[in-house]
């Protein structure tokens, strides 16, 4: 499809710019549809093997099928997988009972922070998209973060004509968002075109399916009969239900997502 090719060309350009620019990049992989697409695009950008590590943040609360999918693809695609965990918080038993804000911050954001620090990664490639959430619609392709991980969303860099912000001294790492301009529908059409492996949780069973994958306690199904990629594409062409409607942290309170993201949440 010509539209998908345009999206892909731009993404490949951005991934290659990031690789040329940063000393130690890494890509984040939740095993969900967007970040799996991202990994595939990285393979395409480098014509085979991804030349940097793939980070998976393990909160301990992921679905069994996500771990299985992760381990299978990591082997098949020859990934240099780094699993990031906040062991201390896990030992303390931090969970959704602490409130979603705290749970996400400690098990995801802090786990990632430690992983970045330990490995010295200076760029983190993420598969967020503008159409997922109003806050993500405000992002740049290259978004600098300071040592405390904060997103200074009130003063974002000038970003024109594929000239992305340089690394500045007061920034510890840069978030790189190569599929920011893709829609949910594009992602599924791309899965179909490229014949990518899908976590079966996205397919409907007994009238329910997952539309977005996260941690087990905070991720709900939607009503759906879409049991294969074609049916998902058809469903997305007509639905008016928000993609992340099954994700509790987005909905708890107004601006929870903004607050999470300002602190470095993905």
């Amino acid at each position: 499809m010509p539209e998908l090719k345009d999206l892909e060309d731009r993404t490949l350009y951005i991934i290659r710019e990031a690789y040329a620019k940063f000393k130690k990049p890494a890509v984040l992989w939740s095993t969900g549809k967007d970040s799996t697409t991202m990994l595939w695009l990285c393979r395409k950008a480098f014509l085979g093997k991804i030349p940097f590590p793939v980070i998976h943040i393990d909160t301990g609360y992921k679905f069994r099928q996500m771990y299985e999918f992760r381990d299978r693809i990591a082997t098949e695609w020859g990934l240099d997988l780094v699993v990031a965990k906040n062991e201390e918080a896990m030992k303390e038993g931090v969970g959704p009972q602490n409130g979603k804000f705290e749970c996400c911050t400690r098990l995801k954001t802090q786990a990632l922070m430690e992983c970045l620090e330990k490995n010295g990664f200076d760029a983190l490639i993420l598969a967020i998209r503008r159409d997922e959430h109003g806050i993500r619609a405000k992002e740049r392709y290259f978004s600098p973060r300071d040592e405390s991980f904060k997103w200074n969303y009130k003063d974002q860099p000038l970003e024109m004509w594929d000239q992305y912000q340089s690394v500045t001294e007061d920034r510890t790492h840069t978030r790189v968002h190569p599929i920011l301009h893709w829609r949910e529908l594009d992602v599924w059409e791309y899965f179909k075109q490229e014949n990518l492996p899908v976590n079966p949780m996205y397919f409907a069973k007994n009238g329910k399916r997952y539309r977005s994958l996260g941690c087990e306690p905070c991720t709900n199904t939607i009503d759906s009969n879409a049991s294969n990629i074609d049916e998902i594409i058809e469903e997305l062409r007509t639905t008016r239900i928000a993609e992340r409607s099954g994700r509790a942290q987005d909905k708890e309170k107004a601006f929870t997502m903004q607050k999470l993201r300002a602190l470095g949440y993905m």
Partner: protein, 404 residues
């Protein structure tokens, strides 16, 4: 067809509301979002506003203004639109440029009750500088002026004059009300005197033509793939074929294209926009640009550009970094020829010693060898960003002086 549209105009003239209206009337708003916005409006003790679909930061809601650019997508009956909302305040010009730089079409929103204001002119000037050739004007808030034909015509006449000075002629003007939904997505019942099209129909009739230009392939990097050196980059204009003899500048290397590759495939040719790898019989480096010997890229060390500054000051003699495509070089502000008012496009001073934030200027640059093209000929290589620790300005190339 996918079309990138940026909505520009002065603060409070209704840009975000207009986009909210387009999303709402085209039924692109998710279920639950309307209720969510209603709840927010109650929380902030406001009346329901379509703009709240766009302004997602809590500060944007508190301050009732757009701070940063937002990108949304929706489908009309005909096209897929990527619509960019930009802030209308002077202090956020940086965000306005970020949002507008990838657009094919600009819609300039002018409130009927206020007419031309500071950012109306500035945004029109910047849209012109960005090389966006298609511009439409929506005279918004017609409901406030009782849908008056006279107000519309007066505003149109003044606007036509301003736009003509930026090179925009025969611009379509649409009288509308984003708040009430007149002539945005649905035709208005209040302005029988207007027999033109709605905004969406005007957009649906846009064609984005692409003129074939000489080959320019920019080098991003070289990778080793299965013991083969692959030069990766993007075709910015023209067509590249296997077997072509090409010349790379500023390296001044002549080489033969042995292969064009993408993941798991070899190609016979590549066209504008393609991110590819090529195998050539010589070494080249990031920042090189290749073309065919007949119309080769030329590296220059001096050129004349028009730029807008987003940092505090830029003085004659300053050294900054210039980035054009993947080439980043040291560059010197040789002479500031004219200082330009970015609100009106008028020259305010000849040979000034410096320019300040939000001012534009004609500048003579001298730099390390870099391939640039006149913006009017190959825009992809005719635009640049200036860097001093961060991106501080942007501009286009007007004239080049070639190196021997």
């Amino acid at each position: 067809m996918k079309i990138n549209v940026v909505i520009v105009g002065h603060v409070d003239h209704g840009k975000s509301t207009l986009i909210g209206r387009l999303l709402y009337d085209s039924e692109s708003i998710n279920e639950g979002r309307v209720e969510e916005i209603q709840k927010l409006a109650e929380e902030y003790k406001r009346r329901f506003e379509f703009a709240y679909f766009l302004d997602s930061f809590d500060d944007e809601l508190k301050e009732e203004r757009t701070i940063d650019t937002t990108g949304v997508m929706f489908k009309s009956r005909k096209n897929l639109y990527s619509i960019t909302d930009v802030p209308g305040h002077k202090e956020f010009i940086k965000n306005m440029l970020t949002g507008a730089s990838h657009s094919d079409v600009a819609v300039l929103v002018v409130a009927a009750n206020e007419g031309i204001q500071e950012q109306t002119g500035r945004h029109a000037f910047l849209v012109h500088m960005l090389g966006i050739k298609k511009l439409f004007v929506v005279i918004n808030k017609m409901d406030i002026v009782d849908y008056s034909k006279k107000v519309f015509q007066d505003t149109r006449n003044k606007m036509s004059h301003l736009l003509a000075s930026f090179g925009y002629h025969d611009v379509p003007f649409i009288p509308g009300s984003a708040m009430e939904g007149d002539n945005i997505y649905k035709p208005s019942q209040h302005m029988k005197w207007y027999n033109g099209t709605t905004l969406i129909d005007t957009l649906d009739n846009v064609s984005v033509e692409r003129v074939v230009k000489p080959l320019r392939f920019v080098v991003q990097d070289t990778y080793s793939v299965d013991s083969e050196k692959v030069v990766v980059g993007r075709v910015e204009s023209g067509t590249l074929h296997v077997g072509d003899e090409v010349i790379f500048q500023p390296s001044n290397v002549i080489a033969k294209v042995q292969k064009i590759v993408v993941y798991q495939h070899d190609l016979a040719e590549a066209n504008r926009g393609d991110s590819i790898g090529i195998v050539v019989n010589k070494e080249v480096e990031r920042g090189d640009v290749c073309g065919l010997p007949k119309l080769p890229p030329i590296a220059v060390t001096e050129f004349l550009g028009e730029a807008v500054l987003l940092d505090k000051k830029l003085q004659e003699g300053d050294e900054v970094e210039l980035r054009c495509a993947t080439r980043w070089v040291k560059c010197r502000i040789q002479r500031i020829r004219e200082k330009i008012n970015s609100e009106t496009g008028e020259v305010i001073e000849n040979n000034p010693a410096e320019i300040s934030e939000n001012e534009a200027a004609l500048i003579e640059f001298s730099c390390e060898p870099v391939v640039v093209e006149k913006f009017s000929e190959i825009p992809e290589l005719g635009r640049f960003v200036l860097v001093r620790n961060k991106n501080i300005g942007a501009g286009i190339v007007l004239e080049t002086t070639s190196q021997k």
